[in-house]
Symmetry: C2
Subunit: 214 residues, 2 copies
């Protein structure tokens, strides 16, 4: 009946404000999930912050899980720390970029907290963010490893097999320092500590010393 006509009917574009509204919701969700965790934060709280009901949010995102996933991928636009989509500095510039990021992050406690909380929470059973963080770390480790290879090639050093260990370690130390810094900002200098550790690890790859623990 109307079927055939309906099929070829125009697709009435979503309103332009809708995109802005979605961004607002995502921003609010980062804040709430960051400050309360995913399990602890509620749609109601997010809705309150954007002046809506929680049903309105479900209208946009379908479910709380889906909202989280979109929050995580949305971050690229917000989080300076991310390398994946940006033009990636190669070689030694990447390590400098990571250090700079740590210094910048020291002024962005909200976003840092969101990532700390959500990444750790993602290791729990059936967490909707788990796959996201698995891929994220895999990608980031790959980027760092490639930077190491480039640097080794530049210096004519044979790329040692410590590169994988070092790549994971650099990301790890940045994350771990964030936890300590969030718990007690006065006790840990996020920027300087990250700088120190990254330098130590890079140095250890480029000019391995005999183990001091032996």
């Amino acid at each position: 009946m109307t079927e055939s006509t309906a099929a070829q009917r125009r697709q009435p574009r979503s309103r332009p404000e809708t995109l802005a509204k979605r961004r607002d919701i995502l921003d609010a969700a980062v804040e709430i999930f960051g400050s309360k965790g995913f399990a602890g934060g509620t749609l109601q709280e997010i809705a309150d912050q954007v002046g809506m009901t929680h049903a309105g949010i479900l209208h946009h995102f379908g479910s709380k899980d889906q909202l989280l996933l979109e929050v995580l991928s949305h971050r690229d636009e917000t989080d300076v720390a991310d390398l994946e989509e940006q033009h990636i500095p190669g070689g030694m510039a990447l390590f400098r970029h990571l250090v700079r990021t740590a210094f910048v992050n020291a002024h962005r406690a909200g976003i840092v907290q969101a990532y700390v909380v959500l990444s750790a929470e993602s290791v729990t059973d059936d967490h909707p963010g788990r796959v996201f963080f698995q891929k994220r770390y895999e990608t980031l480790r790959g980027e760092v490893a490639r930077a190491f290879e480039v640097v080794c090639a530049e210096r004519g050093v044979a790329a040692p097999d410590t590169i994988e260990l070092a790549s994971a370690s650099i990301l790890a130390v940045m994350d771990g320092l964030q936890v300590q810094w969030l718990l007690d900002p006065a006790a840990v200098d996020l920027g300087r500590a990250s700088e120190f550790a990254i330098e130590a690890i890079v140095d250890s790859v480029l000019s391995p010393s005999p183990s001091p623990l032996a």
Copy 2:
């Protein structure tokens, strides 16, 4: 009336089995909070695991928050990683101990996960475990810093001002590697990566090199 007599009445000691039961509950709580988080885990699940109702658990611990706090302090008996109460190896032995711990932890995913999840969750607003983890990191950083000082003294090196940064970094890298390892055990060698990073950081304190990033 009976008040005065009751006051001096024997305090009918808790049954010997009670202690064992409490331990069972704490063990189950570690597992549940570890696998679901504190906000995500429920008293019901914990109760199921020890063959009780959730009210029985509240009888022993009073509240969910209190249970968490007891879980966290109970850990000393279970978690090999902890240094606070054990006789602490000093100087270089401490770093060796940390490395050994990392290798051991690679076979204790359950407990590792509990600490990763709970420590990160503790940075959220009004989390009952926050103070615990603040103190814990403060103590651990102190232990590591003291080990650095001892080692520096042994070698006749002036203790550099990088010790604080290094102490936080060593704990950070261990924690951060745990997250990556839990997300993808095949991709990260928890023991070897921890060893590598700790050696790099210790080495960097003992014999500082000019910054490779400069």
